[in-house]
């Protein structure tokens, strides 16, 4: 019983981090209808930047994230304006191919800068734990999860309470109605990309002390973030939180009761199963128009 609770706690903590890592993906899809296949590469690049701040300046990853996030946001805007927006104008089907090509470019660039050796940051909390009764809570996971909750709450604040957030909601729900009050969906799109990639950078910072990473880990992370947003329903932000928690628990259970090796297959299996059975996601109330035929 204690082992099960331990597993669940671990799964929920990591699930919170998964939610943070996937929020950007669902936000971009919700408003722009683009599946950003470079999500994993943005995560890994952010992890490397955090890693460099840690190794060269001794900046804690959780602090370093606040330096990396604006840089990544800016990079997101440049790539959006330079490549993704154009590709989408030319052919929406090819835009997704372009984002994947971008992922490979970013992977190559990270490999050229940081080399193929596995990297990870090791702040002093990375291998400590808090004990509550017989349950051990690893500090790294705990801090990462708290961090995820704080950042996600910040993002929720921006979306719920600011002009920009309301403009994002307006443009995603009703582009023509938004134009009539002076909100240009294209301009909002640029902001969304900036915010999404910046949020992803926070996820990358958490990744940097939770996992070892190499440049080509990115395709595993695309799979993971895709499965989170598909579980929760593409485009839904509350869905991402639910999807992250479900995936975190499912992975923890698998690695505890099946094998660690097979736990990496869980996200991909979930993608295939959910899309077969319930393509609108596990938590959506209504089927989306763009899903059902």
């Amino acid at each position: 019983m204690a082992a099960l609770i331990q597993t669940l706690v671990f799964g929920l903590l990591i699930g919170g981090v998964y939610a943070l890592m996937s929020t950007g993906l669902t936000l971009v899809f919700g408003v722009m209808k683009i599946v950003n296949m470079a999500q994993g590469a943005f995560l890994i690049l952010s992890a490397y930047l955090t890693y460099s701040l840690w190794t060269y300046a001794g900046i804690d990853p959780l602090i370093g994230a606040f330096i990396v996030a604006p840089v990544m946001g800016l990079l997101g805007v440049i790539l959006y304006k330079g490549i993704i927006e154009r590709a989408q104008r030319i052919d929406a089907g090819l835009a997704i191919v372009a984002t994947f090509a971008l992922a490979l470019i970013l992977e190559a660039v990270t490999a050229l800068i940081w080399g193929p050796e596995p990297a990870t940051t090791t702040p002093d909390y990375f291998n400590q734990a808090v004990h509550i009764g017989s349950i051990a809570i690893p500090k790294a996971q705990l801090y990462a999860c708290i961090f995820a909750v704080v950042i996600t709450a910040g993002l929720a604040f921006i979306i719920k309470r600011t002009w920009l957030g309301h403009a994002i909601t307006a443009a995603s729900e009703n582009p023509e109605g938004a134009r009539l009050i002076g909100v240009e969906p294209a301009r909002v799109g640029t902001w969304i990309f900036a915010i999404s990639i910046a949020t992803t950078a926070f996820g990358g910072a958490a990744l940097s002390f939770l996992y070892q990473f190499v440049p080509d880990s990115q395709d595993g992370w695309i799979g993971l973030t895709l499965s989170v947003v598909i579980l929760g329903g593409l485009g839904s932000i509350p869905g991402v939180v639910a999807g992250g928690l479900v995936l975190g628990v499912a992975e923890a259970l698998t690695s505890n009761y099946v094998s660690v090796q097979w736990s990496t297959a869980v996200p991909f299996i979930l993608i295939l199963v959910v899309l077969t059975v319930r393509p609108q996601g596990l938590f959506a109330l209504h089927s989306r128009e763009d899903v059902s035929s």
Binding site: W163, H166, A167, T169, A170, E173, N174, E176, G177, A178, R179, L180, I181, G182, V183, E184
Partner: protein
Amino acid sequence: MITLAGVCGGYGGLDILSAFELNVEPGTINCIIGPNGAGKSTVLKTVSGILRPRLGSIVVNGLDLVGKSPAEIVKFGVVQVPQRHGLFAGLTVRQNVMMGAYVARASKKRLDARYDELAGMFPIIGKRASHRAGGLSGGQRRMVEFARAMMLEPQVVLLDEPTLGLDPLSRGVIYESTRAMNEAGVTVLMVEQNVRFGLSLADTVTVMSAGRVVLTGTASEIERHPDLMGLFFGLAPETDQVAE
């Protein structure tokens, strides 16, 4: 106040408006009526900047709006209330109304004061301020849309079939509210399918068919016009075709 001259335009190479002409006096309510597909809504879209006309000029209060972005046009004081689905279902009533000031983003205090002012005119936004807009009835939605359009004290409000899909009671409310906006100094240009409703409300009426004006006059002149009924049942005097 509003002058459209020689406006041609449409979608995907197909002209819906052909040399459309319109003149609206300041402070009046003007209603465009005409059968389906005549291009009524298209006229409003060219004024609000959603659709850029291929030819012609659209002058409001001395400024040519052709080529201006919808945001610039809103800022200039010309606001359109769309035909349907104008609200953002995920935002509250208050947030929806406040979005009417998006292009100005004035101080919170001034906007709050304006909101309270508008709540006097449209009581629903006072009573339901924190409700989700998605949960309102059709008539209530219209009121919220009207309030939103009024946020920045516009010169011109464009109404695209305001009574569409509404029950008679809500139509009455729309009638009163449109009057109230007009009395507050707003010039109204509206499109209406419900002809009797439009005629009862408007000072001047423009009847259009197949992208051009076929009749203009005061509401009472148009109401008595012998061709009116025929026009709506497709028995109009032959006009030029749109395509081929």
